[in-house]
């Protein structure tokens, strides 16, 4: 019964989309079929893969740095109480601030290049990685720490055997959420910087009124992000098998 309903909702959406293109509800609104053919053309021409590669480059650069710097920073904040309390204030501000507001500042400081979009990806994702790593350390169950101390565990044993493993779920959840934020940052950066990656494809298609190519690239971007997030979720599930 369930798959039938899911299929029904997809078919319903496609019919709605087809009707929207038939009307058309706005200038040169592409039909699902036109979008799919445009997507295939883009893939065949290699333009899509090349753009994805460029976007991936700044994503991995920015997100990689966010994880590489964010996790240790969060752990440090968790372990060293005062650093944690002060850091917490700045993190809350960074998380409360709509990060898109920082994009013009980054573009000014780093110029119109891949580095800028990598920095934007970093700014979008790093606060969440750090906050979750910090939270993970802070929420370690005192009973476990007591038990380890009872066995006279050294500081390093305590950290690596108790604190880190129990903080892992929170850290991984933070990384997964940060990745979704990284994609948002990547897209905003590329739509504003535009001469790079998938954002450029979208903006050039838009300026040429090739809405089928634009919708196709947007569809591809969403699918690509969804696949990446699903992969990270599967990795997370495998790493945390003990938690099931």
């Amino acid at each position: 019964m369930v798959p039938a309903l899911r299929a029904a909702s997809v078919v319903g959406f496609l019919l709605l989309w087809e009707w929207a293109a038939r009307v058309p509800i706005s200038f040169n609104f592409p039909s699902p079929w036109a979008t799919v053919t445009a997507l295939l053309a883009l893939v065949r021409s290699g333009a899509l893969l090349e753009a994805t590669a460029i976007s991936l480059q700044s994503l991995l650069l920015g997100f990689g740095a966010a994880v590489a710097l964010g996790v240790p920073a969060g752990l440090l904040m968790g372990v060293v109480r005062p650093v944690g309390r002060v850091g917490r204030v700045y993190l809350d501000l960074l998380i409360a601030l709509p990060t898109a507001a920082l994009v013009p500042l980054v573009i000014l400081s780093f110029g119109i290049n891949i580095l800028s979009s990598a920095v934007i990806v970093f700014v979008f994702s790093a606060p969440f990685v750090t906050m979750n790593a910090y939270g993970g350390v802070r929420d370690v169950r005192p009973r476990l720490v007591e038990m380890a101390r009872a066995f006279d565990a050294s500081w390093w044993q305590l950290f690596s055997r108790i604190v880190l493993p129990s903080a892992l779920p929170m850290i991984l959840a933070g990384i997964r959420y940060a990745l979704s934020r990284a994609f948002v940052g990547l897209i905003v950066a590329e739509l504003l910087l535009s001469p790079f990656g998938l954002g450029r494809l979208i903006m050039t298609a838009r300026s040429m009124f090739e809405h089928d190519r634009m919708f196709a690239t947007v569809l591809w971007t969403l699918m690509f992000a969804g696949a990446a997030l699903a992969a990270v979720a599967r990795l997370e599930a495998r790493l945390l098998r003990w938690r099931a």
Binding site: L93, I187, M214
Partner: protein, 239 residues
């Protein structure tokens, strides 16, 4: 503690600015002066007014529709199976990629900002409301039915109150996402509101004005987050 950290940040910023480390880090005092001047000549007021208008036009329907859809998905399996595929997929997707589609759909006007606000906040509300309804204690439902409660009474007396804390959490998270959607939407069409000011000052190298607007956006975001939290505490007293 928070105050000390903020004061520390302010002093650090001022010193850094004074040392003129880089063109892009002006001293806080100059930023504050510019902010005051922008407030004076009405720029900030106009931009903020337009931003808040888009925020309301986008978030209010997102909240209302989100709770309704969330309740329906929580209560009726059919609705859930129909929609949960879309909701979960779009919940974590980079919706900013859809803004150009919104521009193609609504044309180049501020409705796009309201649509982006709706898109950013709607799914958060739906998911949290749905979780709230589904977490309703089965025996509460049986108890009410045992007293002869019909569908409407079940919704009004059991499902909605039971889900209220989760609904409020959804609305609170929704409000935060709404503000982010507002800024993204405004910047991508760069026509109205605070987002447009960010783009304009960015393009014209007016650094202190840029910082002034960034701080204003932060203030707006914090204000809305506090307001949502206050509403949450007020409505859900028993938790």
């Amino acid at each position: 503690m928070t105050l000390a950290a903020l004061v520390g940040l302010a002093i650090g910023w001022e010193l850094l600015g004074r040392l003129d480390v880089s063109l892009f880090v002006p001293p806080l005092s100059r930023v504050a002066a510019t902010w005051w001047q922008l407030l004076g000549d009405g720029t900030l007021a106009r931009a903020a007014a337009s931003s808040l208008a888009s925020l309301a036009k986008g978030f209010v329907p997102a909240a209302a529709l989100g709770v309704a859809v969330g309740l329906a998905m929580g209560r009726f399996a059919v609705v859930r199976h129909l929609l949960d595929g879309w909701v979960n997929a779009l919940m974590s997707a980079p919706l900013s990629a859809l803004v150009p589609v919104l521009i193609a759909l609504f044309g180049v006007r501020d409705t796009v900002v309201a649509a982006t606000v709706f898109m950013f906040s709607f799914f958060v509300v739906v998911v949290n409301t749905q979780t709230g309804v589904r977490a309703t204690d089965r025996s509460l439902v049986d108890m009410a039915r045992a007293f002869g409660a019909g569908e409407v009474a079940l919704f009004g007396r059991i499902y909605l109150p039971a889900a209220l804390p989760a609904v409020m959490l959804g609305l609170r998270l929704g409000a935060v996402q709404a503000v982010k959607g507002m800024v993204v939407g405004e910047m991508l069409i760069s026509l109205v509101g605070l987002g447009e000011r960010l783009i304009y000052y960015g393009n014209t190298f007016l650094i202190t004005e840029l910082y002034a607007v960034i701080l204003s956006v932060l203030a707006l975001a914090l204000l809305i987050a506090q307001a949502a939290q206050a509403a949450d505490r007020a409505l859900v007293r028993w938790k």
